[in-house]
């Protein structure tokens, strides 16, 4: 085959293909009388099912002084309920060939199972039992809180990148619960007790605050029958009123300087921006998604090309936009400075601002925008390979207060974004008034 010789040739060759290729899986929605929402996506490639139960509660719901409650509750949910002995859920499910996991973030708490299809009923029965009868005993709490403190020390305090991100969020969000540490500030973990967890559980763990997502070798009828059997008798409850976390549009420039245990400098620049939930026009959020992609996602992005490949100022670089938050969001740029070229933190910020200003000054070319869009659309197809990823996408949208059906409209939304939209978004959002900078410089205590 003759080698395609120019960028344009490849681009033109390619464009129609993705549109043809994007499969649209069959997805169904049900609601039980008690308010439990059920989303089922059929994927019959293998006799395997992913099931995830999403609760709409996370660290952004936690009041000051009680950080880490949602995450600690997630741990304690496995310490016994009416049909499951402490820890037994793992043994039962592993013997059935399943893998269990759970995670907590700012907006939600998720319990996830990946299993041979015949084990689905057991997973749902355990989930339903834990939703309604968790013991949350003080004795189990006393042990588990020690585990959680160790988790914090290992995954945050001894992990410089995560520690810097936690500190950045604490200044970037000036008014909302998004500033709260998800795993919990150490001083809050030290004074937490089982009673707090019992109250938190009573407040948020109800069928009408949850979404059950099942993806795999099942039919909607099968899932609905099983879900009715185990969840239908659980009563819905009056839930606390929640409001999307909102931020000041232009809080003013903020800066935090951290001496981490890291021996290498790194930097985060974060801008306060709306999410898909809070943007006045959803088009703004889709524009920010593409802007983020152009700027710092993968090796084709501007930061990567310019600062890593051309100028060798950074070794790792990426940007991230939290489009699917239930409240206002950040678009952040994270870089590790190259130890050999060793630029100063000041010089690097100047250079990053030049890149951002360039996006404000000149509209991106149609080709560059198209490449970014192509990457995003290809990733959408790639994500269909994993049952867990599919379920996470659907559950994440629902937990943010959005509809899973958005997932099916993404392509059209992304296609509507123009180079002028990108320029306008850069001008609006890449401003000093929206900026937080977190700098990590090598700590005082140096090894050797």
């Amino acid at each position: 085959m003759k080698r395609p010789s120019s960028r344009r040739a490849l681009g033109l060759l390619f464009l129609p293909v993705i549109a043809l290729a994007t499969p649209s899986p069959s997805t169904h929605e049900r609601m039980l009388a008690n308010g439990l929402k059920i989303i089922v996506r059929e994927d019959h490639r293998a006799p395997v099912v992913a099931a995830q139960l999403w609760y709409k509660v996370g660290s952004s719901h936690e009041p000051p002084g009680e950080s880490g409650l949602s995450h600690a509750l997630e741990h304690l949910l496995f310490q016994g309920s009416s049909k499951v002995c402490p820890g037994q859920a793992f043994e039962v499910m592993e013997r059935l060939g399943a893998r269990i996991n759970a995670f907590t973030n700012h907006d939600s708490t998720t319990y996830e199972y990946l299993m041979p299809r015949h084990a689905l009923g057991v997973a749902l029965e355990i989930m339903a039992d834990q939703m309604s009868t968790a013991r949350l005993s003080p004795a189990a709490f006393r042990r588990e809180i020690e585990v959680i403190k160790n988790e914090r020390l290992q995954n945050v305090d001894d992990t410089p990148g995560t520690l810097l991100d936690e500190k950045m969020r604490s200044i970037a969000f000036t008014t909302s619960g998004y500033r709260t540490s998800t795993i919990g500030w150490l001083h809050d973990l030290q004074r937490m007790n089982a009673l707090q967890l019992q109250r938190w559980y009573a407040r948020w763990y109800a069928p009408n605050n949850a979404t059950l997502v099942v993806v795999g070798d099942v039919t909607p009828g099968e899932v609905e029958a099983l879900a009715r059997r185990y969840f239908a008798d659980l009563p819905g409850r009056t839930l606390p009123e929640t409001k999307p976390p909102l931020e000041l549009n232009e809080p003013g420039e903020r800066r935090i300087m951290v001496q981490t245990r890291n021996e290498f400098p790194s930097l985060i620049m974060a801008f306060n921006v709306p999410s898909l939930v809070t943007a006045a026009d959803p088009h703004t959020a889709h524009t920010l998604r593409l802007l983020n992609e152009l700027l710092g996602v993968d090796s084709g992005s501007r930061i990567f090309r310019e600062l890593k490949f051309h100028e060798e100022l950074v070794t790792r670089a990426h940007s991230r936009y939290e489009a699917f938050n239930r409240g206002d969001a950040l678009l952040k740029i994270v870089v590790d400075l190259d130890t050999q070229k060793n630029p100063s933190l000041d010089d690097l910020q100047v250079r990053l601002w030049q890149l951002l200003d360039e996006l404000k000054r000149t509209p991106v070319s149609a080709q560059e925008l198209e490449r970014a869009r192509t990457r995003m659309m290809a990733r959408r197809v790639f994500a269909l390979d994993s049952l867990e990823n599919q379920a996470q996408k659907l559950g994440g949208l629902e937990s943010a207060g959005l509809s899973w059906t958005l997932e099916e409209q993404e392509e059209a939304h992304l296609k509507a974004v123009t180079p002028l939209d990108i320029q306008h978004a850069a001008q609006t959002y890449f401003t000093r008034e929206r900026l937080s900078v977190a700098l990590a410089s090598p700590g005082k205590i140096r090894h050797e």
Binding site: L77, R95, S137, R143, F264, T374
Partner: protein
């Protein structure tokens, strides 16, 4: 063979609680039965029916392929026996050679290549370890996308540019990585234990060399390494996706034809257990927790005892239900995660235990872990433990065929170690194991007092382990009411 817990690789998302502690209060001594369990526990998972096909190209490249339909995807890996153990007298040579492939090929600079992959929406990855250098590619399977993507991949692999600028850049990049690796706290398979574990083997050399060795590497050495180690005979190609067998064969031939001609590199000698310097090495670091690595050299992946040892490693430290987690996390509450893994390095990897714990428990934890392993050698696994792992591995037989990405990883292991062409072979072998067989395998290959231990973190006065075991009667499920 990846039963590694996905939890442990996530960043912040939290891990679950633990297992089988006796519950507090007599009212918890029994729980109601799970209705659904009695309905399904006699059922076996349906094993995957995916078929692995294998062939060799005329140039000597081994190829494995799994045909999948339902998604328009193609996953490709091309792996070379070109890891750091082939560095010879120039530590860092293999890592530099791999990185140079990222620097553009003849006639195309790095921008052009990135733009081309980007325009196709193709995702490219690569990596280096002690045994291999490899590239992966994920693409839509449509011919108009995959054909130019694979053409580009072939060029990247076969025609790296060895310009002085590219070499200078790669040297800088590798030295940066070497420095970071040197101080990274939570490198799970840390290179810190390698020198005492492998004092007479290339595995002891740093993956990214040293500042001095990198500085001395020449263009000629890199060219020489590439033409030998990135040859068709030294390569394996793995394909998973929406292709016919004929299409897969054509693709494999095109990639193989593009590579430099040449045979597989001769295997280097395997590491020997008796060379390891047994003992504890402490490295002072200003971290909050202390990180502990325990290692001793294990047999290779294709050894007949490997599956028995794998099962033993799962029982000892393979998840929430393992002995390490039950003791260190549930009984003492002194760790968030502790795991044991059998590493399938080509020239004999380690049996490796790693965990983080508060520094005041360093000595107590080292004693406890050693004692627990001694107990396992003495008694072997319990019947219940073995039964649980067998059931869990039957689940793997179904789960292993669930995603193309997982199958690609499985093919890499099968091809690298010349294993039977089956996604379920190891799990089937495990079903035949007995307690005696596992115990005998453990005692044939490991000793209670042969650990190479490294601890990294601050030194503080030592304390005994706290006992946080929740007191009370054991919790059991009541039987289902009859009838």
């Amino acid at each position: 063979m990846n039963k590694a817990n996905p939890v442990l690789s996530r960043v912040l998302p939290a891990l679950l609680a633990s297992l089988s502690i006796p519950a507090a209060g007599s009212d918890l001594s029994s729980v109601n039965p799970l209705q659904s369990l009695s309905e399904v526990q006699h059922l076996a998972p349906t094993p995957t029916t995916r078929v692995i096909r294998g062939w060799k190209t005329l140039n000597g490249t081994k190829v494995l392929f799994v045909e999948t339909h339902g998604l328009p995807l193609l996953d490709v890996a091309v792996s070379f026996a070109a890891g750091s153990r082939y560095d010879g007298e120039q530590p860092g040579l293999a890592a530099m050679a791999l990185s140079l492939l990222n620097e553009g090929s003849e006639g195309k600079d790095v921008d052009t290549i990135l733009t081309a992959f980007d325009s196709l929406g193709v995702k490219i990855g690569n990596g280096i370890d002690r045994d291999h250098g490899f590239f992966t590619l994920r693409s839509l399977s449509d011919e108009a996308v995959r054909t130019p993507a694979l053409q580009l991949l072939s060029e990247v692999l076969s025609k790296p540019s060895f310009t002085s600028d590219a070499i200078r850049r790669v040297k800088s990049e590798i030295i940066d990585r070497q420095m970071r690796e040197d101080v990274a706290f939570e490198t799970w398979v840390s290179h810190r234990f390698a020198p005492p574990l492998y004092p007479r083997h290339p595995y002891a050399q740093p993956l990214y060399g040293t500042r001095e060795s990198i500085g001395e590497i020449t263009a000629e050495q890199l060219r020489g390494f590439h033409s030998k180690a990135y040859s068709a005979g030294n390569a394996i190609i793995l394909l998973v996706g929406d292709l016919s067998r004929e299409q897969a064969q054509n693709i494999s031939v095109k990639i193989s034809d593009a590579l430099p001609k040449g045979p597989a590199l001769p295997p280097t000698a395997s590491a020997r257990r008796e060379d390891s310097v047994v003992g504890t090495l402490h490295i002072e670091r200003p971290t909050t927790l202390i990180h502990l690595d325990f290692a001793q050299i294990a047999p290779p992946r294709n050894h007949p005892d490997y599956v028995a040892l794998y099962v033993a490693s799962m029982i000892f430290g393979g998840g929430f239900d393992s002995r390490l987690m039950k003791v260190l996390r549930e009984q003492h509450g002194v760790t968030y995660s502790a795991e044991a893994q059998l590493k399938n390095w080509q020239a004999r990897g380690p049996f490796h235990i790693n965990l983080s714990t508060p520094p005041e428990y360093r000595e107590a934890v080292i004693r406890r872990v050693k004692g627990m392993f001694e107990q396992l050698l003495k008694d072997g696994p319990t019947e219940q433990e073995l039964q649980n792992i067998k059931l869990s591995l039957r689940g793997d037989m179904a789960l292993n065929g669930a995603s193309n990405a997982d199958m690609l990883q499985a093919l890499l292991v099968i091809a690298r170690h010349d294993l039977p062409l089956s996604l379920t072979d190891y799990a089937e072998q495990a079903q035949q194991l007995t307690r005696e067989r596992v115990k005998a395998a453990l005692n044939a290959h490991f000793d209670a007092d042969s650990w190479v231990v490294t601890s990294t973190g601050p030194s503080v006065p030592q304390q005994a382990l706290p006992d946080l075991q929740v007191q009370g009667p054991s919790c059991r499920s009541r039987p289902l009411p009859s009838g």
